[in-house]
């Protein structure tokens, strides 16, 4: 038997350095674009420069004659086999959805849509030949503004649909029976309380993963093999089969090293389908790798909503109702989960608060822009932003301290489990504890005192404090809930454990990491479960041949669903081993105790290990009657509930009232993500999440001009923050274990992004609220902030919308919107 290291301590909770790093820090990486196969040719994509047009002709003659060119294809060439790109989330029975060809055939509906492809010996030759393709476009009216798109007689993105409205999805607590009627609550508050209305704009964002997308398709084997920089190799295989009618068992999908995703690689892309079809037709391996500007213009975008909110409360601050009306920009097509993204937010606007009446309605709208879809948080950042901004607005209106207003309304720790007005049951949480710790880390009282001093001194640089007490739903998801939301698949995850004769372990997971560190975390989990050393565990993932079954990684689901599947598989291994161990020890199974890999006979010093049992099973010379010679086990876990991480984020900003420049002075977050497998990884997830949420608040926006051209199509224009643009984060955790899984874990991947955006914007507004500013549109660039300040001073026209209604005699601390506040 080979030496197997003894596990010394419990792995769970250890800050293990990552297994993944060794290859990543030394350049031994397996990005899809690194692959080279014998005979491989390269594909380049010609994209529409116009947002909406009929394709009247495409001349590919010159391109076909160019040096090194193997083939040129247009949409017409693939029309019979390309099918329509899948949308797996038809949110309502009457949802309107257009055909979504991978390669445009007759019409383009957004600038960046693929219209032709060249295949050549080298990528450079393929790109050269793109310039020789001559496409004639007949311009159509461009639809960009959601409200205009919904107006009577509006120009249509898809004339054949007869409307730009894709769907309306609504939830009403009075209709469902979970609460009261919000209109009644608003009427009541008008008479005897406070009603605050605001309109917020969730600007369009781009996921901007660092590794550009890449696809390699090898059609030469019996199983056609597709490598892709994807988050979802398993879903992709099923969708290729369903979309193209290819037998599923003839397709193998591999996600090798994948350089980030953030939802942006949760997609079945046109380029995957095109590369698949072209390679199959040519009978040769084909590679497509995008450039960054291609990625920004054609990979799906995120957010892009207009949010109209009305919140009403009693004068003592008790919230009595919340009404949410959204317009959500789908872009030109419905991609994999496009329609469902804003709907995920529907359950989160009530957040951590006990809101007795709630109405949510979301209208999904087509425009001639790049399709939107999941981006880190997907619907929940929008919801959290809106409710946390509204709580600050309500506090200002009531003249209440904003944390006190929150505390007055939030669910107390002794009230869990708590079923919310939007029908979710929060299993656990402790908002008091997280908030108390955050206040302490942040020196909340000290900063409030400084803020008062600087206001009194009329400091040109004002200090603002922003709060975000958030929760989110993640760990997507219980299959029955997804079914009730008309999602096209389940939310389970698969894992398998293979016990090798030498006591080493292979763990197969359906989760598909792209930077998270699952190889490390899963090894820690299995080490504890089976009593094997961390280094004796190998995690296999991202290849439908080795990891044949899975639902992949998104929605902060990997640990809470996939990790639990690993636990369940390990439990089955132990149960199988127990029978054999009892036989080996000549004891009754009932007399065996098991602890971290070791079976002992109760009351004796006799024992054996799972590793020893694995060897005995391998030999299979002497097994109990009816026991098959294998400990290998698999499990498919379907959670009973989402997980609900929460936390309190506090941000202090310095706002220069003369220039509009914002700098983050300090940022403290206390997150409760349940129990923690690896604090190093969890902290890293929080840091990265904060960076992306702060980036929405301050820097990033996908901007289109009036012709529908993306003008932020490079990283020089789309402002992904650098190290100098972000502050040091002070982070800590409270731990309230989830009660719905055996590890007590909750998701962490999206929490930082969801929580941070409103904390920053609330801080900016808090710095200048005394000047009459009530909103600043994101991203809060110096110009936007400067304009908001000057609009409040009555010096320039404001672009911010909003109104406040108060009952007669009310309005303590309220802002006079007619006359611009304090000045």
């Amino acid at each position: 038997m080979t030496a197997t290291a003894e596990p010394s301590v419990n792995e769970f909770g250890q800050a293990r350095k990552r297994k993944e790093d060794a290859r990543l820090i030394s350049g031994r990486t397996r990005w899809t674009d690194n692959l080279t196969l014998p005979g491989m040719v390269h594909l380049a994509v010609l994209r529409s420069p116009v947002a909406h047009a009929t394709i009247t002709s495409i001349d590919v003659g010159a391109a076909k004659q160019a040096p090194g060119v193997t083939a040129v294809f247009t949409g017409r060439d693939l029309a019979d086999e390309q099918g329509s790109l899948p949308c797996a989330w038809p949110i309502s029975p009457d949802m309107v959805a257009p055909q979504a060809p991978s390669l445009a055939v007759d019409r383009v509906n957004f600038a960046g849509e693929a219209v032709a492809v060249v295949v050549a010996r080298s990528a450079a030759e393929a790109h050269d030949a793109l310039e020789l393709i001559d496409v004639d476009y007949d311009d159509l009216p461009v639809v960009l503004d959601m409200e205009a798109a919904l107006a009577d007689g509006a120009d249509l993105v898809h004339p054949e649909l007869g409307t730009n409205r894709s769907a309306l999805w609504a939830f009403d607590s009075a209709e469902v029976g979970t609460g009261g009627d919000v209109e009644e609550a608003i009427r009541g508050a008008r008479d005897n309380g406070v009603v605050v209305k605001r309109r917020f704009r969730q600007q369009r964002l781009i996921p901007a993963f660092m590794e550009p997308r890449s696809v390699v398709m090898d059609p030469t084997g019996e199983q056609m093999t597709l490598w892709s920089a994807t988050q979802i190799p398993h879903v992709l295989r099923v969708m290729i089969a369903m979309t193209l009618g290819v037998p599923e068992h003839k397709v193998r999908v591999i996600a090798p090293d994948v350089g980030g995703g953030f939802g942006g690689k949760l997609q079945v892309t046109p380029e995957e389908i095109i590369t698949f079809l072209v390679a199959r037709r040519l009978g040769k391996p084909v590679k497509w790798t995008e450039g960054r500007s291609e990625s920004l213009v054609s990979g799906h975008h995120g957010r892009d909503q207009i949010q109209d909110l009305t919140i009403c409360a009693n004068r003592d601050g008790t919230v009595t109702g919340l009404k949410v009306e959204l317009l959500a920009d789908m872009g030109a097509y419905l991609r994999l989960v496009t329609p469902g993204v804003p709907i995920l937010g529907a359950f989160m606007y009530n957040a951590i608060y006990k809101i007795p009446a709630y109405h949510f309605a979301c209208t999904n709208v087509f425009t001639d822009k790049t399709p939107t879809d999941a981006y880190r948080g997907a619907g929940r950042p929008e919801a959290t932003f809106a409710i946390e901004r509204m709580m600050d607005e309500l506090a200002a209106e009531l003249g209440m301290e904003p944390l006190e207003l929150r505390e007055k309304n939030w669910i107390k720790h002794e009230e869990f489990p708590y079923t919310t007005i939007s029908t979710l049951t929060y299993d656990s949480g402790n908002y008091e504890a997280a908030t108390a710790r955050a206040k302490e880390l942040f020196d909340y009282d000290g900063l409030r005192a400084e803020q008062q001093r600087r206001r009194a001194a009329n400091d040109p640089v004002q200090l603002g404090i922003g709060i975000s007490t958030f929760t989110e739903m993640c760990g997507l998801a219980p299959s029955r809930v997804l079914g009730s939301l008309s999602y096209g698949a389940g939310g389970w995850e698969h894992a398998a454990i293979r016990m090798l004769p030498t006591g080493k372990v292979e763990v197969v997971t359906g989760s598909s990491p792209h930077g998270q560190g699952h190889e490390t975390a899963w090894s820690q989990i299995v080490s504890d479960q089976l009593g094997v050393a961390f280094d004796d565990v190998e995690v296999l993932h991202g290849d439908t041949q080795s990891s044949h079954k899975g639902m992949d990684s998104y929605g902060s689901r990997s640990l809470t669903v996939g990790g639990i599947a690993v636990v369940k598989a390990a439990e089955k291994v132990v149960e199988k081993a127990r029978k054999v161990a009892a036989h080996m020890l000549e004891a009754s199974e009932d007399d065996l105790e098991y602890d971290r890999g070791r079976f002992t006979v109760r009351g004796t010093d006799k024992g054996t290990t799972v590793a020893d049992v694995a060897l005995a099973v391998f030999a299979a010379h002497d097994l109990p009657e009816g026991v098959e010679p294998s400990l290998d086990s698999d499990a498919t876990f379907d959670p009973e509930n989402f997980s609900f991480p929460h936390g309190t984020h506090l941000c202090a900003t310095e706002v220069d009232t003369e220039t509009g420049e914002v700098s983050i002075r300090s940022y403290a977050s206390v997150d409760d993500v349940g129990t923690v497998v690896n604090p190093l990884i969890v902290d890293g997830q929080i840091h990265g999440g904060l960076a992306q949420g702060i980036a929405q608040a301050l820097y990033e926006e996908a901007v289109y001009d009036e012709a529908g051209t993306l003008v932020t199509g490079t990283l020089a224009d789309y402002l992904v923050p650098s190290a100098v643009d972000l502050p040091h984060f002070t982070t800590d955790r409270t731990e309230t274990p989830s009660t719905t899984n055996p590890l007590g874990v909750k998701g962490v991947g999206e929490a930082g992004t969801i929580a941070s955006t409103p904390a920053v914007v609330n801080a900016i507004i808090d710095a200048v609220r005394h000047l009459g500013v009530r909103d600043v549109e994101m991203p809060c660039s110096p110009q936007t902030v400067w304009r908001a300040i000057n609009a409040a001073r009555g010096q320039v026209k404001s672009t911010s919308e909003g109104s406040t209604e108060t009952a007669a005699g009310g309005g303590l601390g309220s802002i006079d919107s007619q006359h611009g506040g304090a000045r």
């Binding site: 790093d21 820090i25 660092m210 650098s722 190290a723």
Partner: protein, 177 residues
């Protein structure tokens, strides 16, 4: 086509390249140094950073022909005798990477930064890495890693520091001027 001779990670290569070929494409496609990656097309992201005659460059903004007669060090040429460069080690120790796509460029730039300023504070590290984008980490652990490496590479800090000085002598560390 133009004939160039370039020493990459200590090995001399003579190749024909198109005049328009970027150094990064030469490294990846002709020399096989796929550890160096392409993250953008506007020289913003820094993922392709390598050392050219001891100085960090974004290899997407250098033509291969400009490297003729030069020495190039990539992420693949940093480790010595199976030992990681202290900056590589620090990135691992401080969880300064997640997806790892920016990491080769980030490490090469960090080494260059420490050559210019062996003992930077947080702000100096952040400014020194301004041209390298990371989407995963929020930079916090990258800053921590670079300062950790600085401590381990400082004079008298032991074997790790010797490793760097030996590289500086051979002209491939990129840390020195």
């Amino acid at each position: 086509m133009t004939r160039i001779t370039v020493t990459v990670d200590g090995v001399k290569y003579t190749d024909e390249v198109e005049p328009r070929t970027l150094l990064v494409h030469y490294l990846r496609e002709q020399v096989g140094k796929t550890g160096t990656v392409v993250g953008c097309d506007t020289s913003n992201c820094g993922a392709c950073t390598v050392h050219l005659d001891g100085q960090s460059v974004k290899s997407c903004s250098v033509f291969a022909v400009q490297a003729d007669g030069s020495e190039v060090t990539t992420i693949e040429g940093l480790a010595r005798d199976g030992r990681l460069h202290p900056v590589q080690q620090a990135f691992h120790d401080n969880h300064a990477l997640q997806c790892g796509f920016c990491t080769p460029g980030m490490i090469m730039q960090a080494i260059d930064l420490l050559g210019d300023n062996p003992n930077p504070d947080d702000e100096q590290v952040r400014h020194g890495l301004e041209g390298n984008l990371c989407r995963c980490t929020g930079y916090q652990n990258i800053v921590k890693a670079v300062r950790d490496a600085a401590g381990k590479m400082s004079p008298g800090a032991g074997p790790a520091a010797e490793q760097v000085s030996s590289q500086a002598r051979s002209g491939v560390s990129g840390g020195g001027q």
